[in-house]
């Protein structure tokens, strides 16, 4: 029977236990393709820009779903949908930064299918790369975006190394701001790394946006109580409010006492191949009031060191203005 669907012929595994999924991922290696909500996957497959022999569909593994309280915060199964995260009472009460970010992903239908694990593990959106061109990220030896004629309005200001693509995830900056950690399983056991180390730039690994290695599965995200009930600010700037990826996003967690910002985490999305922590801003606002006097001083720190391409200079003042808003809005 010939398929007239645009999906390429592939095998499908539907494990119902984590152990089986991990064993499959180990056995298939790079011939296997982990499938969560699939909202990044099907584009690659239908466009024939990437493929694999088999999909490992993780959706049947019930233990990877759901949100639970732990001794120190909460644990979110990697297969929990973005809609569940955006509407979960516990997350809304304590970590509304994450629910705000999850609620701004793509469209309602994509949030209904898309998972947290998939959102943080998705590939970059550089259209040259997604078109299947043989750029650095695809194993080739040139970049089509960072050229005088290249369409690089959405590309990186920081951390470029041959590749200038940015991490498109909306939840990633929020998780870095909340000091989340990522639980990763493989046949070799479990390892836990911080969200900050989970996302990697092209200088470290040009073919992957995360530290996830072949054969490994992200099984859960843990959020410590460190920033529970803090003062949060999330804003995503995109061309359209639905579907589009962030041009720049800003996820901020602050501990404010009276008028004074005591501690903060400023994390910016859409400007680097990993969520960018604005350490200079964090240092500068410590002990200062959250008003215009502070923003005059610190806003320009946000984009310090930016190396704009031909068409993305606008992102630098956008970063500064989002920092300004974050400080003055709280």
């Amino acid at each position: 029977m010939r398929s007239h669907d645009v999906m390429p012929d592939m095998d499908l595994y539907q494990p119902i236990q984590v152990e089986d999924a991990v064993a499959l991922a180990g056995r298939l290696g790079s011939r296997g393709w982990l499938l969560g909500g699939g909202q990044d996957t099907y584009g690659w497959l239908k466009d024939r820009a990437k493929t694999a022999d088999a999909m490992i569909d993780l959706n049947g593994i019930e233990s990877l779903r759901g949100i639970s309280e732990t001794a120190d915060g909460i644990e979110i199964g990697a297969l929990t949908t973005l809609t569940e995260i955006a509407t979960n009472p516990l997350i809304n009460a304590r970590y509304s930064l994450l629910s705000s970010a999850a609620g701004r992903v793509a469209s309602p239908q994509i949030r209904n299918a898309g998972t947290l694990g998939g959102n943080v593990s998705q590939d970059v959106r550089c259209w040259y790369y997604r078109r299947g061109l043989d750029c650095y990220r695809a194993g080739g030896n040139l970049c089509y975006a960072d050229t005088p004629e290249g369409m690089n309005r959405e590309h990186a200001l920081f951390g470029a190394s041959r590749c200038v693509a940015v991490n498109p995830s909306d939840t990633a900056p929020a998780l870095v701001a909340l000091e989340a950690s990522m639980v990763i399983n493989s046949v070799d056991g479990e390892r836990v790394i911080s969200a900050e180390d989970y996302f990697v730039g092209p200088a470290i690994d040009i073919e992957n946006t995360t530290a996830l290695r072949v054969g490994e599965i992200l099984t859960a995200v843990r959020i410590p109580a460190t920033w529970a009930n803090a003062t949060f600010y999330f804003e995503k700037v995109a061309d359209r409010n639905v579907w589009d990826f962030a041009l720049v996003s800003m996820a901020v967690a602050m501990r404010v006492s009276g008028d004074t910002i005591q501690e903060s985490r400023f994390v910016c999305g859409g400007v680097e191949c990993k969520p960018r922590r604005l350490l200079e801003v964090e240092d500068a606002v410590r002990g200062r009031s959250h008003d215009a006097s502070t923003t005059e001083l610190v806003a320009s720190y946000a984009s310090r060191g930016a190396r704009p391409l031909a068409h993305n200079q606008y992102k630098a003042p956008l970063m500064n203005n989002l920092v300004r808003r974050a400080i003055e809005t709280v």
Partner: protein, 196 residues
């Protein structure tokens, strides 16, 4: 050849007898080509569509939109972008709106699929959303309408009395190239009144 034994039925029969022998493993594997060996999920599966159990022969990589349109002949579900960027293929899975172009049919085993064909009552009475869309002249060219209807129906299940802004958000995953958005919103608000 006996006209009642079509090629499709004959092949289905062969596959059914083979898969019955292969089932029972803890890990299900669907196999695209018959010569791939490493264990196999049944390709002939049952899915629940519009309240009926349908036996259907589904390739491992097949999307639900494809199964609905080309195997079950439920062509009310439209395929437009086929990339999760337009909403024309929206169906409900367990009363939640999903893009059927971006979902594998094998993932809806054991779940309830509702397409635009399944919304009206058994006696033919239109769903309140359908009735309201007619009364408000919501569709223009009509191609995105099935997706809009299903999204609106799913919204009203989750939130029977939405504000206009909530309705806007609820239907924001459905493009209308005619730009009839306000008319659809009028329809959703009227449907909410009909349900109340």
């Amino acid at each position: 050849m006996n006209p009642k034994i079509t090629r499709r039925r004959f092949i289905k029969g062969v596959i059914y007898s083979a898969s019955a022998a292969a089932s029972g493993a803890g890990v299900y594997v669907a196999t695209a080509a018959s010569n791939r060996s490493n264990g196999a999920v049944e390709r002939l599966i049952s899915i629940n569509v519009n309240g009926r159990t349908r036996r259907v022969d589904v390739l491992p990589q097949e999307t639900l939109a494809h199964t609905l349109r080309y195997r079950l002949n439920l062509t009310g579900t439209k395929l437009a972008c086929n990339r999760g960027e337009c909403g024309a293929c929206t169906v409900m899975i367990d009363n939640v709106a999903n893009y059927s172009c971006s979902l594998l049919t094998h993932q809806v085993k054991g779940r309830e699929v509702t397409t635009v064909e399944g919304l009206r009552a058994a006696d033919g009475t239109l769903h309140p959303v359908q009735q309201a869309f007619i009364e408000e002249l919501s569709p223009q060219c009509g191609f995105c309408t099935p997706g809009q209807v299903v999204s609106a129906a799913a919204l009203l299940i989750a939130n029977p009395n939405p504000t206009r802004e909530e309705a806007r958000q609820g239907l924001s995953g459905n493009l209308c190239r005619c730009g009839a958005y306000d008319h659809y919103l009028n329809g959703v608000m009227r449907a909410a009144e009909l349900i109340a």
